[in-house]
Amino acid sequence: MNRFRHLFYTYDSQLRLFLLPFLLGSIILIVLPALITVGVAFTRYNAIQPPVWNGLENFRTLLESPLAWLSLRISLQFIFLAVPLRLLGALLLALLLQARGRWFGSLRAAAYLPTIIPEGSFALIWLWILNPLYGPLNAVLGALGLPTPDWLLDPVTARLSFVLMTLFTIGEGMVVLLIGLKTIPRIYHEVARVDGATAWQIFWRITLPLLTPWLLVLTFRDIVVSLQNTFTPSFVMTYGGPYYATTYVPLLLYELAFDLFDFGAAAAMMVVLYVLTAALVIGIINLVDLNRYDEIA
């Protein structure tokens, strides 16, 4: 027994023990499942009989499936529309609400509210807001003499509704950028102002460049998270409709795996999504210089 005493009694070994639940748990619950999914993509597997190797068969089936193509197309469309708008929204919120003052804490809390509302409730209230006949959104639009679309009943406006909804859940991004803004030493702004820089110049030349690492991390995370977050609304509000217009990849995965029990096809779809996401992230990394990454790690 004495040989193992040092495992628990030195400071550094205790530190390693502290890390153990997180590391071990993450490997079992996240890393392994994600990797095994890649393997399953090359098998025929229905979750009951053992998987059978079938090479690229699943990918071939997906290639021939119009629904898979549609789902990928609308998912990418969603990412390209929602992610930049969400980032811009979070940045504007952070810039507007960063001011010090008695009320600004409460205003920040109000802006964070939609982010903390349970997804299920959030989807239901938007089902009401977007109701073409009784919903408050069309009531407001109608009172202003603006067009009142059918929102979730029409494929194009249904997809726009999904983007609109996600623009309200940007609290996390706002908080991250608030912290990012506070890391910029005030003296930079003061010096620039003394030198006669306008507020606009200060923003473009000082604030934005120094926020870039924070914005990058948010972008990467949002590419993954915002698409994932379409699952609950597409499940609760439209169940993928009308005419599959909101069958984003997470919902398609769910149907393939848990309705049809075709785990192989679902895994193949997942792999396609991994590759596309990785390509997006690498593309963005190539666009910007990453030397300022040190802040985060």
């Binding site: 890390l19 997180f22 079992i28 996240i30 809390a109 802006a111 769910y254 997942m270 996401t277």
Partner: protein
Amino acid sequence: MTKSLKPRRAPSAGRVTRWLLALAVAVLFALPLYWMIIVSLRPLGLPPPRSVEWWPDQASWQNYRELFSMVPMGRYLRNSLLVVAVSVPMTLLTASLAGFGLAQLRNPWRKRLVMLTVFLLMVPPSAVWLFRYQMLSWTGLLTTLWSLILPAFAGGAPLLVLLFYWTFRRTPPEMYEAAKLEGASAWTAYRHLAMPMARPTVAAVLVLAFGLFWNDFTNPVLYLYRPQTYTLPVGVQILKQLDATNWPLLMAGAVFMTLPVVLLFLGLQPLFLSDKSIQSLLEKD
């Protein structure tokens, strides 16, 4: 004291505009919750409104009582409470311990593990659906509440670990060195030095972890099949399946599920959203 010494300036036009703009944005973001509450108070059977309704004609609590007679809301509530009662304290413990461990690790391992954690942040939850379902069914945990609680033993979510890591990186390392030299255990340093200084982060993680487990819609849909184990989000979804156009009742269910997490957030947010606390996150630099 110092405040009274400063002469009070009349607020400039720019500051007033900014304040009004901020207020308008805050109101806009509070609207979904407000409408949820308004509709939930409408008496059943009233014709739907023809214009924007800011307050129902005859507000009543009737819908909230109706909830419990339509579906076993009490059982769903109990299940949800069980899940958060186990998983929130467990998450707080495992995430803070991991963050503390990470912060004190030496390079190159610190950098490697932080990168791994950032990478974990980017793994889409749907990537683990398939195999986690399999694992749960092999271990017999499928359809039990444990299938929802399990991540709590691994820090809840990578983001929560990173929040603690960033916080503990900002406390001066000399403090821990001194404690170490005096023969304190890592547990003592964690318990008596690190955690008392991390109160804003503890409050933030408490809210985020509560939201993570209480709001969870996807995992119950994937892993719970027996009505005895359904949690509130599934219960509200059942309510919708029973009567999709009974808006006041649906909204009552939505509000019932939303209020606990919103109240917790509103209660704790001054600890991490106020001017002082955002500043104090960065004190060291």
